[in-house]
């Protein structure tokens, strides 16, 4: 049997497994919005752990990071810092979001922010920001899926067709089983992608270099420019090192991650999650470094660096192993894609349709609407994926920087302090942040060698704080209710304003 048949066949076998899981989840589904959108708020540590890590790590981790190591060298190991930070933020912010969601019945990020800032404008802006920037992420995943299946089939299945097939599969199991289907498939995908990338990297390292340590030696001798900062193309300046980490942290504020905090069974689940997710997230970049740096020696002239891993597999690994590993790459992309589709479905159904179009319809109606929303997102994601062709990391970085603009407003809700932002301040900050982001990523990329995410976040925060000084804050009752709940949740006290310092 020809290698491409084995590789493609194994990918389709994997797809079949995910579809079966989706339909099994459908049989457990109750027509209840909490169940369809939030897994009934009862996700335990095991399932939540694997869905969170599988959602964080995507086509970007599987293909894009290897491509980045290939092009820019060891500087991409900076991503390890990001993985630690999201764990720490999950520990301190995730638990607070969970507590507020449980107490006040929030379903989406906009629920939380609109309640605190007492503003429908905040709700709509947050919903639109959430959707807009995660659609870029859908595009990145869809492109990754297209790459993989196109390479696996030796370009017998064109990029556009492969993208379409895999987008449809993700949409089918999501529409069938809701968040339960996403979580169950993510469990399989999270394990599969981790094992696949490690096995693939080690097989290639031994096959091509005699082992990982010899690989490092060869890189040091033949391409020393890959092993120090700022890398062969001078990309990883100190400002970019710091800024890229900040930019990638924006994923934390994307709706698919914030929704996951609402779904946890308890705050202890999220604390444990925050302390342990960096282990999975960080160690996944060890094999991608081996692939990218080793690939730079073996295939130095590759036109699309993101394809280094599949290209190496096809040339130097047995077909059955290539198929299993590429199925892992599909798992990486699909686990993120389905989570984003689900999050956008929830945001658009809950924050827009339920709020402004049909407020009093039945849960079954909203579930049906959610399924149609998935269909619409599918079409948009597909069109974006085949129209543009940017490097995966750049796309993810842009979407992360955009979602990061929600950070000041979320942090101000979760962390009582002397600074109290207002709705006008928050909206002004987001507006200024986006204007700055456009300037520092598109018009004049990364001024003074500092990533645009840093400039935009700093300006956002300063404008929000300054405008909030002169505009009407949320009512004292609301601040008392929400910040008082934070005080009670974190410190077990609910002191009266008079004895607070």
């Amino acid at each position: 049997m020809e290698p491409w048949v084995i590789a493609t066949g194994l990918i389709f076998l994997y797809i079949l497994v995910t579809l079966v899981l989706g339909f099994v989840a459908n049989r457990r589904l109750t027509i209840d919005l909490d169940d369809f959108f939030l897994y009934g708020r009862k996700a335990g540590f095991g399932v939540l752990y694997l869905t969170v890590v599988a959602t964080y790590h995507s086509a970007f981790a599987f293909l894009g990071s290897s491509g980045f190591f290939y092009t820019h060298g060891i500087g991409f190991w900076d991503a390890g810092t990001w993985t630690i930070l999201v764990g720490a933020f999950s520990y301190v912010i995730g638990t607070r979001i969970w507590a507020l969601g449980k107490k006040f019945g929030y379903v989406t990020p906009a629920d939380l922010l609109a309640d605190f800032y007492e503003s429908e404008a905040v709700r709509v802006v947050v919903a639109l920001v959430s959707v807009l920037f995660t659609i870029l992420y859908i595009q990145a995943q869809a492109q990754g899926l297209g790459y993989i299946i196109s390479v696996a089939s030796g370009e017998r299945i064109p990029y556009a067709v492969g993208t379409f097939i895999l987008l449809v599969v993700a949409a089918i199991y999501l529409a069938a089983g809701g968040l339960r289907a996403v979580y169950w498939t993510d469990v399989v995908q999270g394990v599969w992608m981790y094992v696949a990338i490690w096995v693939g990297a080690l097989v290639l390292a031994f096959e091509l270099f005699g082992g990982p340590f010899e690989l490092w030696r060869r890189v040091a001798v033949e391409r020393p420019d890959l092993l120090t900062l700022p890398g062969p193309k001078g990309f990883f300046t100190p400002g970019m090192w710091f800024g890229m980490m900040i930019s990638l942290c924006g994923v934390l504020f994307m709706p698919q991650m914030m929704l996951r905090y609402y779904t946890a069974a308890s705050d202890r689940t999220i604390r444990w999650l925050g302390a342990t997710t960096p282990i999975y997230l960080m160690t996944l970049y060890i094999p991608t470094a081996l692939i990218g740096l080793g690939g730079a020696l073996v295939l130095p002239e590759l036109a699309i660096p993101d394809q280094i891993f599949p290209e190496l597999l096809f040339r130097y690994a047995p077909p059955w192993l290539t198929g299993i590993i590429l199925a892992g790459a599909v798992a990486a992309a699909m686990s993120t894609l389905d989570s984003i589709l689900h999050a956008n479905m929830t945001v658009l159904t809950r924050d827009i349709y339920q709020r402004y179009v049909r407020p009093e319809a039945s849960p079954a109606h909203y579930v049906r609407v959610g399924r149609f929303v998935v269909l619409g997102l599918l079409v948009i994601g597909y069109v974006l994926a085949i129209q543009t062709f940017e490097a995966l990391v750049v796309l993810v970085s842009l979407s992360g920087s955009g979602a990061l603009q929600l950070a000041p407003s979320v942090v101000n809700v979760c962390f009582p302090s002397k600074l109290l932002l207002t709705r006008v301040g928050v909206l002004a900050g987001i507006g200024a942040g986006f204007a700055c982001l456009f300037w520092t990523l598109v018009i004049k990329p990364h001024p003074f060698g500092v990533h645009g995410a840093v400039w935009s976040l700093a300006l956002n925060w300063m404008v929000a704080a300054a405008v909030s000084r002169f505009t009407k804050p949320p009512s004292a009752d609301t601040v008392w209710r929400i910040h008082g709940e934070m005080e009670r949740f974190v410190y077990g006290t609910r002191r009266s304003p008079s004895d607070a310092s």
């Binding site: 390890g80 630690i84 340590f213 302390a275 960096p278 000084r469 804050p473 607070a500």
Partner: protein, 83 residues
């Protein structure tokens, strides 16, 4: 409003949540920040070299790996102490 600034005297004011209130919490935060600073410029630039190889890997790579492991250990310690 007084002189263009909204009067917030009637608002509840809580002590800042940005600084932990327990000794363990403050130690954990300090440790985390110290290790984190070691992985960022300008300290990082002192480790920006290939030799000597440590544990079979280039110096910068191993240096960062050690810091990441330390940061994870801090998170696990904070969780263990139930902060």
């Amino acid at each position: 409003m007084i002189l263009g600034i909204v009067d917030r005297r009637d608002y509840p004011r809580f002590a800042s949540h940005f600084v932990p209130r327990t000794t363990t919490g403050r130690r954990g935060l300090l440790l985390f920040l110290i290790f984190f600073a070691l992985a960022e410029p300008p300290v990082l630039l002192l480790a920006n070299r290939i030799e000597p190889f440590v544990l079979g890997m280039p110096f910068l790579y191993t240096y960062l790996l050690a810091i990441y492991v330390a940061l994870i250990a801090v998170l696990l310690w904070i969780h263990h102490r139930d902060v």
